[in-house]
Symmetry: C2
Subunit: 299 residues, 2 copies
């Protein structure tokens, strides 16, 4: 068992996700929020310039800049690429990080509720998922590209030895919602409590399994040959994050009045439905499959 000695709580990785920025400020003013007896916590405001400009990012999405290859590539010099290198110096280096556990605070415009994104596999994640869903049964656990080796993962939360993303919605960009703020704060507190109990080997008895979702693929909006969008997410799917989408169900409403149905062969569970930030890439939603995490696994 790996003891967690240094933790980082990160807000403002995306400049227009206000919840993390305001939680960062609150935690700065109230150090007891981040502190636990068995570890130190560093608070990080990841992308202040993008927040000043009220944008997700200035040049590149900061939360895609953290592969080991990119962090060590001297030719990557944009604002966010430079911020990634600075954060790597502050919390990493990724190859041998001084930070044991990173909590990166995000929000979404999608109706996902409170979600915990696991980017790697291992005992600490399985037990954390079980602990959080006992404390907050409404939390949805998502495994996101957790098959990747840590050095190939491009998200900020992989800069430490371990790390997770707290992702809560729906909230528009550039808005603070009381409920989303409180859920983000609450989940962060439970994660910190978990790490304290983990360190002191005082974890309570946990359920043997956790129902969860695993990300499988991104789905793009229908576009014409010139890349112009031909439709939008159908109201049958809108706000239905993590509800089943069956083969033949409506998925896109085209502007010409026609409807595109889901042509897959098995039921999927969409997430990040109609997320504003994914419009740059014409992404409509992500698909997930249902999985069960075996908390007692010895892997």
């Amino acid at each position: 068992m790996s003891k967690i000695e240094r933790v980082a709580v990160v807000g403002g990785t995306h400049g227009n996700e206000f919840t993390g920025v305001y939680l960062y400020r609150q935690y700065m003013q109230n150090k007891q929020y981040g502190t636990r007896p068995s570890f130190d916590t560093e608070l990080v405001f990841a992308n202040p310039r993008a927040h000043d400009e009220n944008r997700r990012y200035c040049d590149h999405d900061l939360n895609r800049q953290f592969t080991q290859a990119d962090l060590t590539n001297p030719e990557l010099t944009s604002y966010e690429q430079s911020r990634a290198k600075a954060i790597n110096q502050q919390l990493g280096p990724k190859s041998d990080p001084r930070t044991d556990f990173v909590i990166d605070l995000h929000t979404t415009t999608s109706n996902m509720g409170a979600t915990l994104l696991l980017l790697q596999q291992g005992e600490i994640y399985r037990k954390l998922a079980a602990y959080i869903t006992v404390k907050m049964p409404e939390v949805i656990v998502i495994r996101d590209q957790d098959h990747l080796p840590r050095d190939e993962h491009n998200m900020l939360a992989t800069i430490g030895k371990f790390g997770v993303i707290v992702e809560v919605g729906p909230v528009p960009q550039a808005v603070l919602r009381d409920d989303v703020y409180q859920q983000s704060h609450q989940m962060t507190q439970h994660i910190l409590d978990f790490l304290e109990l983990w360190n002191t080997e005082q974890l309570p008895e946990l359920p043997e399994t956790v129902d969860a979702f695993r990300y499988t693929e991104c789905i793009t909006l229908p576009v014409d040959a010139l890349g112009n969008r031909l439709g939008m997410v159908h109201e049958h799917v809108q706000d239905g994050d993590f509800k089943p989408l069956h083969p033949g169900d409506p998925i896109f409403q085209c502007f010409d009045g026609s409807v595109v149905t889901f042509d897959g062969e098995q039921t999927v569970y969409p997430g990040f439905i109609n997320e504003a930030a994914y419009y740059d890439n014409n992404l409509a939603m992500s698909f997930h499959e249902k999985i069960v995490i075996d908390v007692t696994s010895k892997d």
Copy 2:
């Protein structure tokens, strides 16, 4: 009775309100949407550069640039100030406009539903309000600064002889929602139908009164002496647009855990609650009073 001979339907006045931009494109491709036998309709994409940059505006809020004084002030030269002058030339001039009726399409991140904003007083507005609420009973009618002389009103919809704003939410900035898109389209079609019936003196019998709201004031978030926000909209108010807010009700949740209550002396009806675009000015919401529009008035 003033005959309506030239109409303008305007989208993209705010670059990150996608619904109007996509409706503009649809109406361009399907001219029958805008056309009616008794008048011509011009379609206008008001702020294409802001849309390209996925921002509300580049330099200044375009929808505040249309007072007669500003339109004729040669010292106002920013991008939106110049766009306002170009639109004034295209649809106006404001002092003697060639456009009789302007429909300006907007969206909000607030839970306002489908609203019709009336910026001036007069018979055509009273009858339009009655007609729309018969066709779409869910529509909320708002009188917004309709006491101002038209040349002092700074919004784009006042560039024609008459004009209204179609304002629908909730939808995050930079997102198309099927329901919001359809409601905006539907209300625009009903307004155009109304104008046709108005011109041909074939309006159906209308209700004698319409329940509506009148904007009274803007409410700012609590801030400290340095202008830092101390709290956010309380969950008691969040999403409660046009629901009564009584004296003593919670209105702001402060980050330190304290709650600010509404210290007014009479019940008000908030709108634009926690609208993302108003954060620049620390605005939390608008207050409205309930009014009844007398459709039979001879004023």
